[in-house]
Amino acid sequence: MIAENYSLTGKQILHFETFGFLVRRNVFSAEEVAKINGEFDRRRASILAEIDPEEKRTFTQWPTRNPENPFTASLLDDPRIYVPSEQLVGEDSIPIQSHCNSYGKSSGWHVDTFDRRLCVIKNILYLQPTTADRGALRVIPGSHRSPLSEDLRNMDLYGFHDDTSPFLNASGMRGEDIPCYIFESEPGDVITFNELTWHAAFGGYKDRRSLSYNFFTNPKADDEIESMKKIVEHTPANTQGLGTVGLEYHPNWLENADNNPRRARWINWLEKWGFTDVLNN
């Protein structure tokens, strides 16, 4: 039973707004991480057996909202995830996607969105220790805001793989040479970042693991609504591109057997905007 209030302090919120990310240490216990990793082992093994027996994929992703990984699925209803998220993007924010991720290599410098009209955050739990040369997430502080955001884009840094970054190719630099904060972490730590924040991870290896829970601002202004419509429209193609395995919203999760009011609100919203249609078909 989680009894504590997991609210962020004013200083933590200011840190997030200023730098575009926030680190919380020891949010989950070693026992909880072991439980998550156990579920991750089993689910990954069954997915690989089904769709990738030769393990040729460099990225395998599946939604958390699935009864086959019940503890991992429950984290979305855990105040350690939703309380800080609601503080950062609004009490009526919505977790549209939540995933288990198994990477096969490094990730070059990129942002998750260039659209400034909606605030989207991602909570990430790395399930193995991370260091600078072994998969630690790197973020460029303050890069979610102008002018740094545009400066990085204009210098042609973007490249999910190092060899696709025009700046790195022209300069002879490596992705590791870009100045940043390196989130060296232990399993149980959580980093939350604005999806506009530039980030990367180097020293990748087979089955580098993370859980990700993203929360979107509930759109109200015309430009926010317009932006959300575009997201609904492009989400199927993006999901297909990533090769996400399985339904984003399992019927078991949609059933909401415990009548959790927060989950009920999320489900109503996801149905109203069409996400249950586009991500479950």
């Binding site: 840190h15 200023t18 730098f19 460029i140 502080p141 303050g142 400066d151 630099m173 100045p179 904060y181």
Partner: protein
């Protein structure tokens, strides 16, 4: 030949700093170490009980440090400064610095319209744990620069995200005065040589900022300067008749950085 590539200039403009590796040879480093050590001993000898303050500096523009006094005019330095801040930049100081312990987060910009850059050559190998220059990349630009003033950098709730400019003797870190920086874990004898350049003011606000900088420099050096003036008469005499140095001297006199009694 340009000192910096197009990508290096872009890097500096984007992040507010750049590290240049192996600028000085081993032979040059030996001379720099020797001139630094000789000056330090002279200063210590002139102070009561050989007492040395935690943070202090002295000018390298005197004849007793001939190699260091010419560094501002070294093409590796001044032409790089000209690439970054325009051909009319002015060298306003060349100092040796001896520091002890931590230097907390700050910028070197004293006025919102006063622009400058610093070349820092560290004489010892430094990493994040023993006093390397730490920087918040991109913090030289607004509004990020101002927002950082509202962060309680010393709070235990805040971990200031930074990049550590690990360096070896011979490397130079160049940074925009406005870039937030610090140093933690330094030894009791951290040594560096610095050369400052100011951008030539082009607007009324920048002119005002330059005059403001004169006052700030006087206050800072009154606190940190171990002895003497920043501008030795030997350097001001410009015995080699360097046109570049003469332009700098004329500018320094015009704005009041060099007082008439120093001339």
């Amino acid at each position: 030949m340009s000192m910096l590539t197009e990508q290096q200039i872009t890097f500096f403009n984007t992040f507010g700093f750049i590290i240049l590796r192996k600028v000085f040879s081993d032979e040059e480093l030996a001379i720099m170490d020797d001139e630094f050590e000789t000056s330090l001993k002279t200063i210590q000898g002139e102070r009561p009980d050989n007492e040395v303050p935690k943070h202090f500096n002295w000018s390298n523009l005197g004849p007793e440090t001939p190699f260091l006094s010419l560094l501002p005019e070294d093409p590796r330095i001044c032409e790089t400064a000209e690439q970054l801040f325009g051909e009319h930049v002015i060298a306003v100081s060349s100092n040796s610095n001896r520091r002890v312990g931590n230097t907390h987060w700050h910028t070197d910009q004293s006025h919102p319209h006063s622009y400058g850059l610093k070349f820092a050559a560290y004489l010892q190998p430094l990493n994040s744990d023993n006093g390397a220059f730490r920087v918040i990349p991109g913090s030289h630009k607004q509004p990020f620069n101002d927002k950082l003033k509202h962060i309680e950098m010393h709070s235990s709730e805040i971990t200031v995200p930074y990049y550590s400019c690990d360096s070896a003797p011979g490397d130079i870190v160049i940074f925009n005065f406005a870039t937030w920086h610090s140093s933690f874990g330094g030894s009791t004898n951290r040594r560096m040589c610095t050369i400052d350049f100011y951008k030539n003011p082009e607007t009324p606000e920048e002119v005002e900022g330059t005059y403001d900088q004169v006052i700030v420099d006087e206050k800072v050096y009154a606190k940190l300067r171990a002895y003497g003036s920043g501008f030795h008469p030997h350097w001001l005499a410009n015995p080699q008749n360097s046109p570049r140095r003469q332009r700098w001297i004329d500018w320094l006199r015009k704005y009041g950085f060099v007082k008439s009694e120093e001339a």
